[in-house]
């Protein structure tokens, strides 16, 4: 169908952040469309995600940012009616190639969810779950300890590893979910509004953690909180929901993708400017 909406502004050629040379590309997205049944929820998204950077997806509700994120580890496969079209390369491998096993993808591309979702098991078993099913050998106790330290939770829980994870506070639970995700030693961490259920102090802790984890992992974060994107991310993609002219349904579109500094100080698109200055959304 003809697309009357303005095209996306994407700056992928000259990153102006600290890295001197262009970092390696982890994800390459071209003409990505996601359908729920007949409904086209995400329209023609294209962007790159770079190694050991934090890439933030911002935008109003229903703009498709979470949907795009969930394509990266094939989480949308779990929804019967979801269908993904277009190109999504992970280190030059087509993630949606028929031979690609979503289970293998998710072991390399971990995810932290909007609401902390620890398993109703002990703290130890939560962290050990991923390594166990992945058949990661070696010292499990040590791996649990390193993972909990990596998520900045070790000092708080080291004396009650056998206690239920459900007894932790919301912020601790979310850090446990991060520890659980990094225990399988992934390459990428996808974070779907990881702080939306947390108080400002817990949010600050997680943001600090993300900045540390950037040395080891590529992080893609979806957030409603523009200040959070500005604080932690290297690059920001602004999505919006715009009504389709023929059907009137609101569909997600990528408006602009650039260095976070530019998105917040000098956006190229009027809609981005309106959003980041708080005039809409």
């Amino acid at each position: 169908m003809p697309d009357a909406l303005p095209s996306t502004v994407v700056n992928t050629t000259t990153p102006t952040n600290a890295n001197a040379e262009t970092p390696d590309t982890v994800f390459t997205v071209r003409d990505l469309n996601v359908y729920y049944g007949d409904f086209r929820a995400v329209v023609d998204v294209g962007l790159e995600v770079y190694e050991r950077e934090i890439t933030a997806f911002i935008g109003p509700s229903g703009c498709g940012k979470s949907t795009v994120l969930r394509c990266f580890n094939r989480m949308n496969d779990l929804i019967d009616i979801a269908r993904v079209e277009g190109t999504l390369l992970y280190h030059d491998i087509d993630l949606y190639h028929e031979d690609v096993d979503p289970v293998a993808v998710r072991r390399r591309i971990g995810m932290v969810f909007q609401k902390p979702n620890p398993f109703p098991k002990s703290i130890y078993d939560n962290v050990a779950f991923g390594p166990k099913i992945a058949g990661i050998g070696g010292d499990l106790d040590e791996l649990v300890e390193t993972s909990l330290k990596g998520a900045g939770l070790w000092e708080e829980v080291k004396d009650r590893l056998d206690k239920s994870a459900l007894g932790l506070s919301g912020g601790q639970q979310q850090r446990l979910c991060i520890a659980r995700a990094i225990a399988v030693q992934p390459d990428v961490l996808l974070m779907d509004e990881p702080c939306s259920a947390l108080d400002p102090i817990a949010t600050g802790t997680i943001e600090e953690l993300m900045r540390e984890m950037k040395n080891q992992y590529t992080i893609v974060i979806v957030t409603h909180n523009m200040q959070q994107a500005a604080r932690v991310s290297d690059r920001t993609a602004f999505f919006t929901a715009e009504a389709d002219e023929s059907t009137g349904q609101r569909r997600g579109k990528l408006v602009e993708y650039d260095d976070t500094g530019l998105i917040f100080s000098n956006p190229a698109d009027k809609r981005t400017e309106a959003y980041v200055t708080g005039r809409f959304g």
Binding site: M75, V105, M111, F113, N117, P120, F129, I133, A134, C177
Partner: protein, 320 residues
């Protein structure tokens, strides 16, 4: 009600400068909530009626059974059926009921839970799946005597070579069919109640569908699944109608039965004992039916209690 000030008698909450709020403004006015009070009364009445009926059943049964249970308690539990009221007992019924419960557990639990897991976790949402779900729900409402007729045709007559005709096996399989829909429905609901965030968490770590089901969904759903399963056993223990149709014996005496005879030979069960005693002349046998009922009730309560304890333990293990 006294007004706060002469000029604002009807709006005591609107206190302007210098006007003080009084307690009257915040006092509860019961007449405002008359319908609520009436409704609460009706609810209490409903609870009272339900409680009174249960008590009435228990008390009348206990009174009727008191004579038999106090004079011949152990004989009643240990003796076989007999035409002599002083020597008649329910030992065969107890054994039959326990064997039937065992067969129901062995057959209906795995099949029922397996069907529920398939319907909830694997089956895609098609018209056929929905048709099956509706059919299962309807089967749960089919009168038990109809299952008895099915059991008579299939297990007693059709599979006589395996079941031995009217036997504990036939009765157990029939009652397993009877409770199967209940187990499927309760297990499905327990599985459906597991939040999708738990599944996503496991999938997000690279678990396969089977790993998600085995390590997360089933353990979390287990308290609910077990409760449904155990309650269905209690239901099977109390059924008399299907047993009558598949041919539970009113009286039988075979002396000592071999292991196979116990499964394939003549049998009876506690509800059948109750029905048999109740049909005999009341002047001599009045207490026996009630006494057998007490045995059934104690057995069912014990099973329900076990279910509650198991549920509490599993739930505690899950840390909720």
């Amino acid at each position: 009600m006294t007004a706060t000030t002469p000029d604002t008698p009807k709006s005591p909450l609107k206190t302007g400068a210098g006007k003080r709020l009084t307690l009257d403004a915040l006092k509860r006015d019961r007449s405002d909530d008359l319908t609520g009070q009436v409704f609460l009364g009706l609810l209490l009445l409903a609870v009272a009626i339900a409680g009174a009926m249960v008590l009435a059943v228990l008390i009348t049964v206990a009174i009727d059974a008191a004579d038999v249970l106090s004079t011949q308690f152990w004989d009643f539990l240990n003796n076989k059926s007999s035409s002599d009221p002083a020597r008649a007992g329910v030992a065969q019924g107890i054994r039959g009921s326990i064997l039937i419960a065992g067969i129901v557990s062995i057959v209906a639990f795995p099949v029922g839970i397996g069907a529920a897991v398939y319907l909830e976790e694997y089956a895609s949402d098609t018209k056929l799946t929905r048709l099956i779900e509706v059919t299962v729900r309807n089967l749960a409402g089919v009168p038990s005597i109809v299952y008895g007729l099915l059991g008579l045709a299939v297990f007693v007559q059709g599979l006589r070579g395996i079941t031995g005709g009217s036997s504990v096996i036939s009765a157990g399989l029939t009652l397993a069919l009877l409770v199967l829909p209940i187990i499927i429905i309760t297990a499905s609901e327990a599985i459906r109640a597991i939040p999708s965030t738990l599944r996503e968490g496991a999938y997000g770590l690279g678990a396969t569908q089977w790993e998600v089901i085995r390590t997360q969904v089933l353990p979390a759903a287990m308290p609910g699944i077990l409760t449904g399963a155990v309650l269905s056993i209690a239901r099977a223990l109390g059924e008399a109608a299907p047993l009558l149709v598949v041919g539970a014996a009113a009286f039988y005496s075979t002396g000592f039965q071999g292991q196979l005879d116990q499964l394939q030979g003549a049998f009876t069960a506690l509800p059948m004992n109750v029905a048999t005693f109740a049909k005999l002349p009341a002047d001599v046998w009045a207490g026996h039916a009630a006494a057998a009922s007490v045995v059934v009730l104690v057995l069912v309560f014990a099973i329900n209690l076990a279910a509650i304890i198991m549920r509490a333990r599993l739930t505690k293990k899950l840390g909720r």
